[in-house]
């Protein structure tokens, strides 16, 4: 080890002493060559995605589909007529809502995503525990009906503000909105309700947003906000070799400012934490249309992996639409628990895991989407054993640009992803 250090000091400039492993880097052209070979092999292997019907699960599992505005409208109308009949006959009224509880979720390994099973609950008006939710459901249905008539989009926040007194809290109206999607059997985007923009994209990507052509290399440092309604996005073109998924805004800004995508042609995406629906849809669309490998750069803690899993196999909350929201085959590039020692991240940049962290980590080990990937299990076991975590920013201890100048190129060169 000692003589290795000496050698490095001897044959490279002083900068490398503070940026370990820089001397291992090959030239950019060589790295590009490696990447190209990987990309070509991966894109050829992509096949048509399986569906529930292929696995003969369509009777026991539930999935929603994109519906046109008019069919959403007529589904709501027939439902309301049904309610009216019930009320007029003096029976009150009730909804049959597919259950989104965790006991009604199923991870299907063949699909590599979570799907919703077929259990439903009845939500009657005349019961003290469900009267509130039933009323809110009726209200949301009537609001969505209006959107259909007028053919406009609103945000979830708009929806909440139509009757703050009834909804009390946006969490409640948001939850019922997902219920309504399930009842009607359509995706949430078909309801014309969108979430506020959260995700951003930058890099070698050109696409059309509502008719305007966007070139993501010319969007400045901040990048282009991912449009909330995916149905208006199209015509994707790119000469990138991979998509880089970044958990944190800070790392995204670093890569964007350093124009990392010009050194290694790529598309950089972040949702700044837990991904929203729009970002997940956008990533899925890119993956499907451009057929590029997706590499993820997340924190080395249980939540980093959790975020990775939401991109990959979906969240429990929105499992009814996992077919549209999940992007298969995401590779875990870093920061992985084994990188902490491999890249000699100093002790002061590592954090001890809290008891809650360790518990989350152990729970993750029980999850199917982790178990199916032996490499991930190994990494997670290491994390739980060492009880240490680190954020992407821990790399800044070797200089702010270490991430973009050494760490990522080296990772790419070694094809070090799981």
């Amino acid at each position: 080890m000692a003589d290795k250090k000496k050698r490095r000091r001897a044959d490279s400039d002083s900068n490398s002493a503070s940026q370990p492993f820089k001397n291992l880097l090959k030239s950019d052209a060589q790295i590009l060559q490696i990447l190209k070979s990987v990309t070509s092999s991966s894109s050829s292997s992509t096949s048509k995605p399986l569906t529930l019907a292929d696995l003969a699960l369509s009777s026991t599992c539930r999935e929603v589909s994109d519906l046109s505005l008019s069919s959403v409208q007529s589904t709501i109308e027939s439902l309301v007529l049904q309610l009216t009949h019930q009320i007029l006959s003096g029976q009150g009224f009730s909804f049959t809502v597919p259950s989104r509880s965790s006991s009604n979720q199923l991870y299907v390994p063949e699909l590599d995503r979570i799907v919703l099973k077929d259990k439903s609950t009845v939500r009657p008006f005349s019961h003290i525990s469900s009267v509130r939710k039933t009323t809110i459901t009726a209200k949301i249905l009537s609001l969505v009906h209006q959107l259909c008539l007028k053919n406009i989009h609103v945000t979830k926040r708009d929806l909440f503000y139509t009757d703050v007194k009834l909804f009390q809290d946006q969490v409640q109206s948001d939850a019922v909105l997902d219920d309504v999607s399930c009842i009607l059997g359509c995706t949430r985007s078909s309801l014309n309700v969108i979430a506020a923009e959260k995700g951003v994209v930058v890099g070698r990507l050109i696409f059309s947003d509502n008719g305007d052509m966007i070139d993501c290399t010319k969007m400045g440092m901040g990048g282009k906000a991912i449009p909330p309604n995916i149905d208006r996005v199209g015509d994707m073109q790119s000469d990138a070799l991979f998509i880089l998924l970044v958990e944190k805004d800070a790392a995204y800004i670093r890569l964007a400012e350093d124009r990392f995508y010009n050194r290694f042609p790529c598309i950089i995406v972040t949702a700044k934490g837990q991904p929203d629906v729009a970002t997940r849809l956008f990533l899925k669309k890119m993956k499907m249309e451009l057929k590029l490998p997706v590499l993820a750069l997340v924190d080395s803690d249980p939540y980093g992996l959790k975020i990775l899993s939401v991109y990959g196999c979906g969240s429990k909350n929105m499992s009814y639409d996992s077919a549209n929201l999940t992007t298969p085959d995401i590779k875990w590039l870093g920061i992985r628990p084994s990188d902490l020692d491999k890249y000699k991240i100093p002790e002061q940049c590592r954090l001890p895991m809290t008891e809650q962290d360790i518990k989350t980590g152990k729970d993750l080990l029980e999850e199917d989407f982790v178990k199916k990937n032996p490499g991930w299990v190994e990494e997670l076991n290491l994390m739980v054993k060492t009880k240490q975590k680190a954020e992407i920013q821990a790399l800044s201890s070797f200089g702010f640009q270490y991430l973009s100048e050494v760490y990522l190129p080296l990772k790419l060169q070694q094809q070090d992803w799981l």
Binding site: S74, I76, E77, S78, V80, L81, L83, T84, H85, I87, L88, G90, Q91, G92, F93, F125, S126, I128, V131, R132, T134, T135, A138, K139, L141, S142, H145, Q146, L149, D163, L166
Partner: protein
């Protein structure tokens, strides 16, 4: 049982000729040791000394009454003695200060100026506040903080109706530290024979006045009176007066009076908490607590009335469990035993060793042991071997029969009496074992009540004495705060007024620290027993709370359902209206039944009001049905009734009876 007292030997030594070279080696009598380290026994500062004195006297009194199965009646009086009275008591003449500047609290001209300015400012502010109509807080009369030497003195008197003491034993019982009647292996409040003696040592240290004891035993026709203090250097009593007097009232019990320095102001609340909690755990006792001083407005009299005449059984003395003894203890047992051989010794001096087990044990000890081995002839090595085997062998756990827990009934009564909670649940665990000593955990959890603050109120008892200090580290506090998920039992940890009572009894309570103030959190056996006892109470409470919530839900159901009718009907009607419009303009086709409804909506035959009425009718119907169902399910109220306890009256009352066929009206004169 008298402990061997080192003074005997010391006396001999002190008489050795003084000419012998002065040795640097000095010896201390136990009394001296405790006088110097009085904090060990809870005598840290004058305030705490007053508290501990009260506590020790009360606990001795309770033990004494319970020992003869007499319902305890205890009177405790604290009398404040002002300095001049104190001086006259000890025959000291009050001296006027001549040289003012000599004293510590002398106010220099500068300090005086400062103080006057400050007072003037305070008055100004007060006047301003008064002018603004603000509620003027009674300005705490800035009592000139007591200077050094301005001690306050108290006469503490405790009178009980207990066993009393044999006339001749009294001097040794009070004038000799580490001599006591409670050294056997049994659940007792006191343990080391320190309490009353420490009070005496403290009185000697702070006032120099002796202790006065009156006592009489049952059926004794005289009353013993004794005034004594303690010779601290020799740890022997120093008797001033010891005589027999007339016992006209046939009273039995003891009255102990001691004059000590103390601090009532700072420890008033601790003392009253102590009395209150003592009343919780011993509802069968009657306490009369009095504080008497020259200022009548400071006087306090609290009577804690008896609420039951059911007393827990007297704890019996038990033998040692083999896994709890050490080598010294084995040696002592060998010295004291009346048994001749090893076989009998094992069988009779320990619990849970029967004949077959004793034989197996002796066989296991080795060839040099036999059942016939004379027990007094055992060598040191052999004793070590026995000890090793005791450590490793498996024995049945000691039973809890020798323990005397307060009992669920008493605990419950105590809680109800002192806190008046809305709900209470109690639980008594079975006996468990820690290091060879059995222990029993009892718990009570209450919700609501008067004078109870929001959140957790924790009451701890060990061997039926309240523990007031060192709450933070205690196993009960930590368990209640950290390991109970109150939410699971529908109890709100911050909003509800929760009382948690845990009483632990054992032949040996594993106290932490020097004072007997708390039980550490590191003993997993006790921690888990405490947790499960509290949980059991919570489970009982949960069903009561759920029932209450259901009852409330019953009352409010109709209102809560009706509240949402307008929102629901509006939502449905809004959609219908739009549909009716497009139906009328023939934009869309509907099936016959649906088209019929839409037509009626267009013609205002079905309106918002129609839906509203129908929904209201439905809600009323559902409410009626559910109320009926609830009533048939729950039936008549089955709240458990509490027994009332009526205290029996003195038979010498003077009264008239007015008899009627159905009742008697008794008029007391």
């Amino acid at each position: 049982m008298e402990s061997e007292c080192p003074t005997e030997t010391k006396k001999g030594k002190s008489k050795t000729p003084k000419k012998a070279k002065e040795s640097i080696l000095k010896q201390k009598s136990p009394a001296e040791f405790f006088a110097e380290n009085k904090n060990i026994a809870g005598f840290d500062n004058p305030g705490k000394c007053l508290y501990t004195t009260v506590r020790e006297l009360v606990e001795n009194a309770l033990d004494s009454a319970e020992a003869i199965s007499e319902l305890p009646v205890i009177e405790i009086t604290i009398e404040e003695i002002v300095k001049s009275k104190f001086n006259s008591m000890i025959g000291l003449v009050d001296r006027e200060r001549v040289d003012e500047e000599l004293y510590d609290d002398y106010e220099t001209a500068k300090a005086r100026e400062k103080r006057l300015a400050k007072e003037a400012r305070a008055q100004e502010i007060q006047a301003k506040n008064a002018a603004l109509g603000k509620k003027v807080k009674e300005h705490a009369v800035s009592k000139s903080s007591k200077g050094r030497g301005e001690a306050s003195f108290y006469r503490v008197t405790c009178r009980d109706n207990g066993r009393g003491m044999p006339h001749d034993d009294i001097p040794n019982m009070f004038g000799r530290v580490l001599s006591g009647t409670k050294y056997g292996l049994k659940q007792t409040r006191g343990k080391f024979g320190l309490g009353a003696k420490m009070a005496l040592i403290w009185s000697k240290m702070s006032t120099g006045l002796p202790i006065e004891i009156s006592s009489s035993m049952r059926g004794q026709n005289y009353l013993s009176f004794c005034r004594l203090d303690i010779d601290i250097h020799r740890n022997i009593p120093h008797i001033h007066l010891h005589e027999k007097r007339d016992n006209k009232d046939k009273w039995h019990g003891a009255e102990i009076q001691v004059v000590i320095e103390g601090n009532w102001t700072t420890y008033r609340s601790k003392i009253s908490h102590y009395m209150r909690q003592m009343a919780v755990i011993t509802p069968y006792a009657q306490f009369l607590f009095k504080f008497v001083s020259d200022a009548p407005d400071k006087n306090v009299t609290i009577k804690f009335a008896r609420r039951t005449d059911v007393m827990p059984p007297v704890p019996v003395e038990t033998k040692h469990h083999p896994s709890s003894v050490d080598i010294l203890l084995i040696k002592r047992l060998i010295a004291e035993t009346s048994k001749q051989n090893l076989m009998q010794f094992l069988q009779h001096e320990f619990v849970n060793i029967g004949k077959p087990l004793a034989e197996r044990l002796i066989g296991e000890m080795g060839p040099e042991f036999s059942p016939k081995t004379a027990v007094k002839s055992l060598t040191d090595q052999q004793i070590v071997r026995i000890h090793q085997l005791f450590r490793q062998a498996k024995f049945d756990d000691p039973s809890g029969d020798c323990l005397s827990p307060a009992g669920e009934y008493n605990l419950r009564l105590g809680i109800i009496k002192e806190l008046h909670p809305d709900m209470v649940a109690t639980y008594s665990g079975s006996a468990q074992v820690f290091e060879g000593h059995p222990f029993i955990v009892e718990a009570g959890v209450s919700v609501g009540g008067k004078d109870v603050k929001q959140g957790l109120n924790i009451f701890r008892f060990a061997n039926r004495i309240p523990l007031l200090f060192e709450q933070g580290g205690d196993v009960v506090t930590r368990t209640a705060l950290k390991r109970i998920s109150w939410n699971n039992y529908k109890i709100n940890q911050t909003q509800d007024k929760i009382g948690v009572f845990v009483s632990i009894v054992s032949t040996k309570i594993p106290f932490k620290g020097t004072g007997k103030e708390y039980i550490g959190d590191d003993i997993s056996e006790i921690a888990s027993a405490v947790k499960s006892a509290i949980q059991q109470c919570c489970i009982q409470l949960k069903s009561k709370i759920v029932k209450k919530m259901q009852a409330r839900e019953q009352q409010e159901r109709k209102r809560n359902l009706s509240k949402y009718i307008p929102d629901a009907t509006n939502a449905v009607y809004d959609v219908l209206k739009e549909m009716a419009k497009s139906h009328a303009s023939k934009k869309k086709r509907y099936e016959e039944g649906d088209a019929d409804i839409l037509r009626k909506v267009s013609d205002h035959l079905i309106t918002k009001e129609t839906l509203y009425e129908k929904l209201t009718q439905h809600v009323e119907k559902v409410d009626y049905e559910m109320a009926l169902e609830y009533a048939t399910q729950t039936g008549v109220r089955e709240e458990p009734r509490e027994d009332i306890y009526l205290e029996s009256l003195d038979d010498k009352g003077n009264f008239f009876d007015f008899h009627s066929p159905i009742f008697v009206f008794r008029l007391f004169l």
